[in-house]
Symmetry: C2
Subunit: 362 residues, 2 copies
Amino acid sequence: MPSLAPPQLTDVAVKVERRLTDLVAEQSGVWASFDGRLAEAVDELGSVLSSGGKRLRAAFCYWGWHGRRHGPGGGLGFGSPCDESVVVDAGAAFELLQAFALIHDDIMDDSATRRGRPTVHVSQARRLTAEGWQGEARRFGEGVAILVGDLSHAYADQLMGSAPDAARRIWDELRIELNLGQYLDLRSAAAGQLDGDTALRVSTFKSALYTIVRPLQLGASLDGPAGEGLLALLERYGRPLGRAFQLRDDLLGVLGDEVTIGKPVGDDLREGKPTELAAVAIDRADPAQARLLAGIGRRDLSAGDVAAIVGVLQDTGAVGEINNRITGLVSEAIDVAADLPFDHESKGALVALAEYVAARNS
Amino acid sequence: MPSLAPPQLTDVAVKVERRLTDLVAEQSGVWASFDGRLAEAVDELGSVLSSGGKRLRAAFCYWGWHGRRHGPGGGLGFGSPCDESVVVDAGAAFELLQAFALIHDDIMDDSATRRGRPTVHVSQARRLTAEGWQGEARRFGEGVAILVGDLSHAYADQLMGSAPDAARRIWDELRIELNLGQYLDLRSAAAGQLDGDTALRVSTFKSALYTIVRPLQLGASLDGPAGEGLLALLERYGRPLGRAFQLRDDLLGVLGDEVTIGKPVGDDLREGKPTELAAVAIDRADPAQARLLAGIGRRDLSAGDVAAIVGVLQDTGAVGEINNRITGLVSEAIDVAADLPFDHESKGALVALAEYVAARNS
């Protein structure tokens, strides 16, 4: 399976990134004309947006729209066909929502880097110190990061404003799911609830629904309300694929290349995130291995502690089991893609995206 | 001027609070049926919403709608009249947005209490300790508070979903203004920029536009796009009144009754918020008074330090000057209210609200 982003992802990314760049430039100009200090918050968001990202949600949204529009049922026989600019705006809205979620997540996890650069709360805390300003650097950095995230949320919503009601209803739902999924993640990590059911539930909200199912369904609703049958089929594709996406993320978090993934390996273990990977290992561990796994969730794990836990994840066969699950889940999603009432090109895109999601190395 | 809330405020508040209670009960039930842990976040938001609040923004939104609908121009001769449920939903959306803003502000300011109860980040930090969970209590508390705020923002937007496009455009704009105003507030406090221009700029974004002008304009757009003339008149009413609102807030923050205002007196001084009150005192201070005022922005001010600074605010005549400004600004707003193309009842409501905003003791 290919680990490089397919053109069906990168072509959408180019359009969406242009939209984001234009928005930031326009807004930065508007606010700078009032007061240069106001534009700083917009520019900080611009740095986050231009630092990369796979633009997966924008791509699923685009192909959901394209597939329905050009499928045998035809998007043009009902509803009111939207301009492509509405599709690009919706894709850009997903990327702004993702920036909002990551900026806030990084505060909650106290992540130092993201996509290879310092996170917003860390760089803003350093700014207070460098400027010699008053107050606590940590609180200032986190405060600015909260606001930059909130600003991104507001812009996301503004861009989704041209979407029809059916699409906006999905947009409202997915934001509630995203926040509640993140709450469950945070709370389960704190309470040390590392069971497989909890891991799967968090992954359903944060990966399956937010990353794949809802962007596809929303895209398929941009020409007007999609039928229940189509929405259900898209969910049948997105649920297993979203779970595979999360499983790959979990593997990258402990086995990935730090430079490629843009964040420190081992942080997921220190945060004690509930993952299927950890749950399988805990199930299979002998007493000595179980003692090592009990370190998951300790913020002060050394590099050696992390390496020992990773060893247990491998020795128990948990890593192999998760790889097998990924293979099975992706093939399940690809089978559903074949059944979609979409044109050939869109089905091909969903197959290519599924293979990429499962095999990516960042 | 009356310091008790007038019926034009409390009657709207009753309807909006019923809507909020219904929303929380419904959502808590839906999510509890998936996983009881998910409902905890909804219930925490419910506690914030039910802990009071003046519901000012909901009232301005309501009277903006009522005035245009029943005014001599008539809301019914153009646009498409909306149901009263849309007006109540919009008012409830404003209260959810306000809850979002307060929950996030309280993290940035590290406020311990709000409306007489512990703030979300403080009570959630205590929860981690009480449960014996792992991780840092402060980070967990702030993380949950960020999420509960984000959830409130998402629900706010969902409730605004039934409003027409013209109203939604104002909604998008005011959220950007709110976040940028808060950024300027935070950044100016850190940088020690306590000048009157900065104070007025922050107050324009956070109080005049967010609290009064935009709710009124949005309400007046619920039956369809309002003309530029009406929007400008509403702004001429809301700008001076919003400034008066902020000036009263600043006075209450140093002279108010701690129990009535629901937060510790002196916190505004410790945070070093740019206020017109401080700016006037700084302008008028002699060298000895200036030395005392230089303590503004120090987190470790004792009760005695606070009392000494408050003494300077009074002795320099800054308190008197701010009271004079409030009187002038409110009378300016009331004069504009008389010119509005609204029915008699709505104009009376805007006069009553203006008097209350200027005289309130909490």
